[in-house]
């Protein structure tokens, strides 16, 4: 763990360390914990690496690197079990676990005191017995030429300092792996799905989706528009989708509150749309830079009236890519709004995953082809058996027009107050998802199925939960989890199949009331017996879930 104040370069140094470890062939997982400020405070980044897949962060550390006194004091409780690597100037007591060197001097001799972080990671690199060339290459890539020189020199001085070292065997190659955070994976999946327009208003922790797509826009066919507010953002995305391109908007709960009327517009006008909600604790401004799963009930029912929607919640970085890709397919196929619900933890956490294989992802167009119909006879809301009317965009045919409406409308798209269309159009919209069963994914089973204790969970808790369940299984405690990434419409087959045989059902969620548990109860009548909920803005670690599960078993 590296801990320090905002503005001390903690992101940069952690980035170098993570990428260096990734390049050295390790599976890396990094978790970002930061405050809503530009300078000062206490932020930390936890980096976990191993030869095999790493699913989550952990609260056990090999080393802690405090960058200032605040960071040292914040983490002091760990000192008895964990060595601290730190500058001499921070040392106020003698403790066997304090590994203090004059890192500041090393950086100064290298040319700049600010390069102290490079000396620190050089030292750490040596303790792990890793190849210095890899770290130097990473530093080289991170900085401009002159800064790279100073930092490499500072890093070498750090590397030469320790007399002892651990011996860690690198896995050797990581060439088929990538190292990516959740929001980057969502952006990547969106571009590959043919998303050509993204409009949003900056809001932590969703902003990095926009940053990533803006980076793509420098080279690839996508336009990113920073809207004046979230209301404009969602309306732009709807307009763009109506005009013929796949579109997405993204925000966090507060911004989504402003988008709600737009969501209803997408619903009644049957405009395909993908919405990313990267959750943080609410209500109102809440915890700006922390994590939560508190928006589920809200997203499921947001907007006046009724219309079909789909809610997906990726379980990890790989799933962020897959479900982002899939979201566009579903939105287009069924002409409905589709949500990707992530959270600050998954948005920011970087993980080593296998590179996505293009053969697993098929990009399909659902735009209609019309056969010589009379001029101006196309009907955007044609009533038919599936409820899904053939969709074209303005200008697709030079003898047809397309009319969409936020009012209840007739088949052509004109306002109507007729009771007939009031009923028929509602029936049409509501039956669009009847065929969705073919696309639905049942929850993944973690642990030993048909055990007497079942956990239900969703989204980003996957990694920690997977480790906790494995640990319990290793101790011969029979337990399993149904982990949902398709949330709505709720997949029910596994629930029905497994719930009748279990004695206990425990929900594990990052909210107060157990919103998934409430949804399951509402849809199936199945009640959970215990709740493990977290609502302090911090992601539960495998150790915490393990301990709390043991308490209720």
């Amino acid at each position: 763990m590296i801990s320090g104040a905002a503005g001390q370069g903690i992101d940069t140094v952690a980035g170098i360390l993570e990428e260096g470890l990734f390049k050295a062939g390790f599976h890396v997982f990094s978790n970002k914990d930061y405050m809503s400020r530009v300078r000062g405070g206490n932020n930390f980044i936890q980096i976990r690496f191993a030869s095999d897949e790493v699913y989550s962060h952990s609260n056990k550390f090999d080393y802690v690197i405090p960058l200032d006194t605040v960071a040292y004091n914040e983490n002091k409780a760990l000192l008895n079990q964990t060595p601290f690597i730190m500058d001499l100037s921070l040392k106020t007591e003698d403790h066997k676990n304090i590994l203090a060197e004059n890192f500041k001097l090393m950086a100064k001799e290298a040319g700049n005191e600010k390069a102290i972080t490079s000396s620190l990671i050089g030292y750490l690199w040596k303790l792990y017995g890793l190849d210095l060339d890899i770290l130097e290459e990473t530093i080289n890539r991170t900085f401009s030429e002159k800064l790279a020189e100073v930092n490499i020199s500072a890093c070498r001085k750090g590397y030469e300092a320790p007399s002892v070292e651990n011996q860690i065997q690198s896995k050797g190659t990581s060439k088929d792996f990538i190292f990516i955070n959740g929001n980057q994976a969502i952006a990547f999946g969106a571009l590959m799905a043919g998303c050509k327009f993204y409009s949003a208003y900056p809001m932590t922790p969703s902003t990095s989706v926009m940053n990533e797509l803006a980076l793509y826009a420098e080279k690839y066919p996508i336009i990113v528009e920073q809207a004046e507010d979230e209301i404009a953002a969602i309306n732009m995305a709807i307009g763009s989708s109506f005009a013929g391109v796949r579109s997405m908007t993204g925000t966090s709960g507060g911004g989504f509150s402003l988008m709600v009327e737009g969501l209803g517009l997408a619903g009644i006008s049957e405009t395909p749309l993908v919405i990313v909600d990267s959750q943080r604790p609410g209500p109102a401004t809440g915890f700006a830079t922390r994590t939560a799963q508190g928006d589920l009930s809200f997203v499921l029912t947001a907007s006046q009236g009724e219309f079909p929607r789909v809610v997906l919640a990726p379980k990890d970085q790989e799933d962020c890519f897959s479900l982002s890709f899939k979201a566009f397919d579903i939105a287009d196929k069924y002409q409905v709004p589709v949500f990707i619900m992530t959270d600050q933890y998954l948005s920011d956490a970087r993980k080593t995953i296998e590179a996505f294989d293009p053969d697993d992802f098929i990009n399909k167009s659902y735009l209609a082809e019309l056969n010589n119909i009379p001029d101006y006879s196309y009907e955007r809301y044609k009533l038919n058996e599936s409820g899904i009317s053939p969709r074209i965009y303005p200008g697709q045919y030079d003898n047809q027009i397309v009319l969409q409406d936020s009012y209840e409308h007739d088949e052509k798209g004109h306002d109507t107050e007729s009771a007939f269309f009031g009923k028929e159009m509602m029936d049409k919209r509501m039956k669009k998802l009847n065929g969705f069963e073919k696309d639905i994914m049942e929850p993944e089973i973690l642990g030993i199925p048909y055990s007497e204790i079942m956990i239900v969970s969703w989204g980003s808790t996957y990694g920690s939960l997977k480790e906790a369940v494995k640990k319990l299984n290793d101790e011969d405690i029979n337990i399993f989890a149904l982990h949902f990434n398709y949330i709505w419409p709720l997949p029910q087959k596994h629930l029905e199949k497994f719930s009748s045989r279990v004695k206990k059902i425990i929900t594990v969620e990052h909210n107060y009331t157990g919103q998934l548990a409430k949804l399951i109860k509402q849809e199936t009548g199945i009640s959970v017996t215990d709740k493990i909920t977290g609502y302090d803005g911090r992601q539960m670690s495998p150790e915490e879930i393990y301990t709390r599960l043991k308490e209720v078993l």
């Binding site: 190292f179 050509k196 309306n235 013929g244 517009l265």
Partner: protein, 281 residues
């Protein structure tokens, strides 16, 4: 008049409503432009003006109250071949959607924003609007509104709008000419259209306007901002009609200078797959 832009959908405006003149002007301007119905998209919000897309044979999207501009912006950005026209009212555009007006001017997409300004809320039956004069009485403001009215042209002028005009629903031929000029202007063009509400606005009636409006002379220099400010401030005695201010400025796509513009044609972006993967290795 037979026109490819006519449709047979029943019009729900009151008899004598100023909107008929605006619709007539719009159809005439589109005829003159040579555009086909499939090449035009009319976007609106909610209000009497918001019904416009239903009464004309073009592409259309009747969206949310106040949100026509961002909805239209999405259309124009993603399908730039379309001639995009936004119709809204004073409540829709200057009240509910005021923020979008400001930022649409900054964005400067090549779109045409036509505001049916009758200085009153029609659809909700007669409340004061952002352009109602002080003292306008209504069920909600029985003693008369105490809010100062917006002069929307001042707002547009102060935000450097490149095309500002004022039209009158009582002179559809002149209005059609203004609309045609707006279509050919490259950037965000804005026409505030004075329009009597025959039911709820008993002050700013057809004859009230008829007495005050005059067409700007041919000698008027619409490129001169000082003259434009003078004309924009005329209201109490005389109200000028015509292009009040016009100047060239870079529109959205010129500013954005996209390396790889997307377009509406479906394409499979998988050709970029490996290149993107490299970013994360």
């Amino acid at each position: 008049m037979t026109s490819v832009f006519n449709n047979d959908f029943e019009i729900a405006w009151c008899p004598g409503c100023g909107n008929y003149g605006i619709l007539k002007a719009l159809k005439k301007a589109l005829e003159m432009s040579g555009k086909k119905p499939a090449e035009v998209t009319i976007v609106s919000g909610i209000g009497q003006a918001g019904k416009t897309p239903h009464y004309i044979n073009t592409n259309g999207f009747n969206g949310l109250h106040g949100r026509a501009l961002p909805l239209a912006s999405g259309v124009k950005i993603s399908n730039p071949e379309q001639l995009v026209i936004i119709h809204g009212g004073d409540g829709d555009g200057y009240g509910e959607g005021g923020n979008h007006f400001i930022h649409s001017l900054r964005r400067n997409l090549d779109m045409n924003y036509f505001v049916h300004n009758n200085q009153i809320y029609g659809l909700t039956k007669g409340q004061a609007s952002p352009t109602s004069a002080i003292g306008t009485k209504s069920g909600i403001q029985p003693g008369g509104t105490i809010m100062e009215p917006i002069n929307p042209l001042k707002l547009a002028m102060s935000l450097d709008c490149g095309f500002i005009a004022r039209g009158f629903s009582g002179d559809p031929d002149h209005l059609a000419e203004l609309m045609l000029e707006a279509f050919s202007y490259k950037g965000f063009s804005y026409i505030d259209i004075l329009q009597p509400c025959v039911v709820f606005n008993k002050v700013n009636t057809f004859s009230w306007y008829k007495e005050k409006v005059y067409k700007l002379e041919d000698s008027y220099d619409f490129t001169n901002p000082e003259k434009a400010w003078e004309k924009i401030n005329e209201w109490d005695k005389k109200i000028p009609l015509g292009v009040i201010f016009k100047r060239e400025k870079p529109e959205y796509f010129e500013k954005a200078s996209l390396v790889n513009p997307p377009g509406v044609k479906h394409s499979d972006p998988k050709i970029y797959w490996d290149e993107l993967l490299e970013m994360y290795k």
